[in-house]
Amino acid sequence: MSTSVAIEQPKSNTLSSRVFSFVPGVILLAAIGYAGKSIEQSISRYGKSHHLSLPNIEYVLWAILIGLAISNTVRIPELFKTGIATYEFWLKLGIVLLGARFLLGDVIKLGGLSLALVVIELAIAIALMTALGRAFKLTPKLTTLLAVGSSICGVSAIIAAKGAIDADDEDSSLAIAAILALGAIALFTFPFIGHLLGMSNHAYGLWSGLAVDNTAEAVAAGALYSDAAGKIAVLAKTARNAMIGFVVLGYAIYWASKGQAQIVHNKALFLWQKFPKFVLGFLLISILATLGVFSKEQLGSLGNLSRWAFLLTFAGVGLRTNLREMQKQGLRPFIVGAVGEILIAAVTLGLVLGADSIFHLS
């Protein structure tokens, strides 16, 4: 399955050949994303011109559906794969640029609340996944990977933990497959539940950022609800991602104490290496925006650049989701993941609704 999260290294070493190897896949991402945007606008225009009240289906869903349809019906040529794998680059670029739409005060206020909820979510998710992994007799390291993937940030966290705890490739593939499959399901269930409960954009965005595991899916699940919810989901998910080093370090120390992983000598360096640096970029752009470096129109332009970057990401989410490959990965890790994710989603929903009633998120 296509679980690559880093830009694949082409065979040739020259910079120009590396750049050109990305071009076909990136054009495909852009074409799918733009087609999604055009479909949304066409439906909206048709409804207006014919005085019909049609449901507004966001471009996000169209881009994901077109990507899903392509990746699950035709075999994508190798030529496109390097470029398609850049979807995570566009995600990070979009998040950093989105920093321009947040004043630092909002980041501290919402990010602080998110961090507090993240700490509770982490403890509950790790405890739940560990108990479920034992109950379903998964290997201890697969259980660790599922716990890390479901508590923090999906695929990146699993890959970071894989190296730190010396897990094998099969366990990490299973954990990644389970997390990606559940992320795809969340895309369609979360907005439905949010609308059913009449959640505010803030509350829903916070919930998506806390409960959906992989960053791309968390951002997409937020954006499917509304633009404002998508922004809050990015902030909450970024706060969650920032915790990756601490959780992976905890597990690395645990497995090293059992003699099944290398001892971490320099913990500060380990934390810095695992820290997602794009979070710093997000904060830097937010600080620049707060200091008034950009005019209102320029802030709008940066926000729109962020949306264009996300457009490519959402197309990539659909393209890299291969349902047949996921089916081959076996049922037990998926069941553990699914039961754990449903419980985590329910607990985080309770946390967010509780925070909403106290802090009146609006």
């Binding site: 680059f89 670029l93 321009a100 997602p276 710093l280 830097l284 470096v293 950009f294 709008g300 332009s301």
Partner: protein, 35 residues
Amino acid sequence: MSNRKFNLSLDGWAVALALLLALFVRLNIFPRIPW
């Protein structure tokens, strides 16, 4: 040109490009970006 000179992580590239785009927008090198 060796790619060793461009040994930035994915995050590093994303932050560098975002800052470059922000600079272009700030200096009005880019026109207003539509959506």
